[in-house]
Amino acid sequence: MKHLFTAALVSSFALAAPVAPTAAQAEEINVLMFGMPYTVGLAKLADDFEAETGIKANIDVVGQDVFESRITLSFTGGTGDIDVVHTPVIQVQRWIQAGWLQPMTDLVSEETTSDILAGPLGAYDVNGDQWALPFFAGVGLMSYREDLLEAAGAEVPQTWAEMLDVAAKITTDDQAAIALRAVPGQGFNMFIFPMVMRAYGGTFFADYEGGDLTPAINSPENLEALNVYVKLINDYGPAGAGNFNFAEVKAAAENGQVAFTVEGTGIISQLVDPAKSQFADVTGIALPPGGPAGRSPAIGVHGMGIPASAPNPEASARFIEWAVSSETVAKIAMSESFPDFTTASVAQNPEVIAKYAAIHPDFLTMRVAALDLAIGHYRPLIPEWPALGQAIGESVNAAINGLMTPEEALEQADADMRDILGL
């Protein structure tokens, strides 16, 4: 019965989803990724993989919405048409729970894993098994306009409270102080807001590490953080900031409409790149502000896993090992804007160092400092996180746009969390 319905579900999506070729032979594998500088660079190197191994890799890089439809229909139907899948760390627990992935513990060599940064690698170690290998670890950093700070007679803010003070000095009718992601979503405002939350000592659960997953989203610490976040966006952000995503944040910084952004390394590296931003020469990089509980830079990890239905896991693992190898990653770091690699030896590559040092001398240093401070469970690593992040993000956005007070928003988020967790 189950197969009947899953097959029907698959066919119900079939019209909307492009049909991927099935890997009929062992010499051909299908790789499904969504668009990022690394995946775009990887797709260009498919011929290298074939030349090296004799295995043809069809690397399909699609939009994130198409990606979600494709994997859902493929994995629920167990069609086996995907051999390697882009695996964001925030999804991995959910996918393991749903039986969508197979462990690769015995399929990848010690030589490969020993060259990967321990933090991102460990994020895919669940129940003693390795479920994916990371290729990307983006962390939160702050960019600031040195000229605007100097004109306002202000220092680089070290805490969110200081940020409020500095923002008040900088903001005028013609100049906004800060742009932050606000649009609802676990990968949008919920990539940024937890940096403020955790700086004030807020958490999602009563004791995540101790296993007590009682929601704690409506704590006084989180309320204080949400008030700061709302005030920064509404009082010191540009018009319409309540619907900003990373693209609008990046554009506002590039156009000189704001003095500060707190964003992932992928965006920050472009803001300080003279080839890409007209204000790059007066833009500095710092760690994201902290608070009474310290700093907690955002972290987002992406990797590659092997679907449970993949017919030839050995070939899949071979591709993943090649894709995270020092040689492949260095090529992508050179050809694309990709400083977020997790293959440790690439950080020693003189060409790569020279490229990113030329963009901004502090960039690589700050990235390492932020990686040191970031906690693996910045966004909780539980199967329900995508649903929880979506719900909390919606409430946070409602508070920003005045549909609810911050108190009401956190009460709503608490109720939603309990509903999703079945409490």
Binding site: M1, K2, L4, F5, A7, A8, L9, S11, S12, F13, A14, L15, G63, D65, E68, S69, T72, T76, R94, Q97, A98, V183, P184, G185, Q186, F188, P238, A239, G240, A241, G242, N243, F244, N245, E248, A251, A252, N255, Q257, P383, E384, P386, A387, Q390, E394, S395, N397, A398, I400, N401, G402, L403, M404, I420, G422
Partner: protein, 298 residues
């Protein structure tokens, strides 16, 4: 007699068999790509299929019972109704006006027949990105223009009705050409003799339009409204790109909510139940509009 009858029956049979064969591709296409998935969706809607909580394959009406007390679903229906009502009304109104204008106009202006089709050819995601830029104050040339005169254009996408208005405008921009095309085709089917006869009888242009043209256009107007309305129940790309369902949840139309339940909350069965509800709504509306259409045409 008999010798003539047999070949005639044979010819009819052959002809009928030919017609049936012509329908085979459509039957296969509908059977494989519509009826089978639809049956699967109905099955899932009555199941407990959940990607995280585990599935016992218990079948019942639990998902439909849950709908009755689901405030988010009610909110999504309210949003969908607003988007559909205002969007379809504007598309039919503007499409009709442009069609009438294009039919009567002469000279170079007739190039509008091609020009006005362009928005319909743009993919919805691209349309949404264009309008997202236009409604984002820091990116919009409209805001920049009014800023020159010291006029501040409000930020549409940060209030519920502003965001709904923005989505309706984007949806209207890309879909009014469809209404225009259907109405133009219908207008071409109306004999000019009727208008001439009305003019000879002393009717004004306005009266001729109201009492002659409009009743003859009614079936086409009903059809275009029905098609656009059914399509509007599937609102997704504009919302996903322009607002992500925000501010808060205020632009989460029902189809978007089904996506959230299925893909974010992993509740595939409940997402399917919402999809079934949308399907039944569309089927019911189609049935009544078809009946109404029959009455209008007779």
């Amino acid at each position: 007699m008999t010798s003539h009858a047999t070949p005639r029956r044979g010819a009819t049979y052959e002809l009928q068999r030919g017609y049936r064969l012509m329908m085979v591709p459509a039957i296969l296409a509908v059977g494989i790509f519509a009826i089978v998935p639809l049956a699967g969706m109905f099955g899932l809607a009555f199941s407990d299929y959940h990607l995280i909580r585990g599935t016992n394959w218990d079948f019942g009406f639990q998902n439909f019972a849950k709908m009755l007390s689901d405030k988010r679903l009610m909110n999504s229906i309210y949003v969908m109704a607003a988007l559909s009502f205002f969007g379809v009304a504007l598309q039919v109104l503007i499409g009709s006006a442009v069609a009438v204008g294009l039919q009567k106009i002469t000279g170079k202006w007739r190039v509008g027949r091609i020009l006005f089709l362009l928005p319909y050819a743009v993919p919805h995601v691209a349309v949404a990105l264009i309008w997202l830029s236009l409604f984002t104050p820091t990116l919009s040339p409209i805001n920049a223009f009014f800023d020159l005169f010291g006029i501040t254009v409000p930020a549409f996408l940060t209030s519920q009705w502003g965001a709904i208005t923005a989505i309706v405008i984007a949806d209207t921009w890309t879909n009014f050409p469809f209404a225009m095309l259907i109405i133009m085709a219908a207008l071409q089917g109306i004999s000019p003799d009727l208008e001439e006869a009305a003019a000879i009888d002393g009717a004004t242009r306005v009266k001729t339009f109201i009492y002659i043209t409009l009743p003859l256009l009614a079936p086409a107007l009903l059809m275009v409204t029905l098609f656009r309305f059914i399509d509007s129940l599937k609102h997704f790309p504009m919302i996903f790109v322009m607002t992500k369902g925000g501010p808060g949840r205020s632009t989460q139309a029902t189809n978007f909510y089904a996506y959230v339940q299925t893909f974010q909350n992993s509740n595939v069965a409940y997402g399917a139940a919402i999809a079934v509800m949308l399907f039944l709504m569309a089927a019911l509306i189609s049935y009544y509009v078809a009946k109404l259409n029959q009455r209008v045409t007779t």
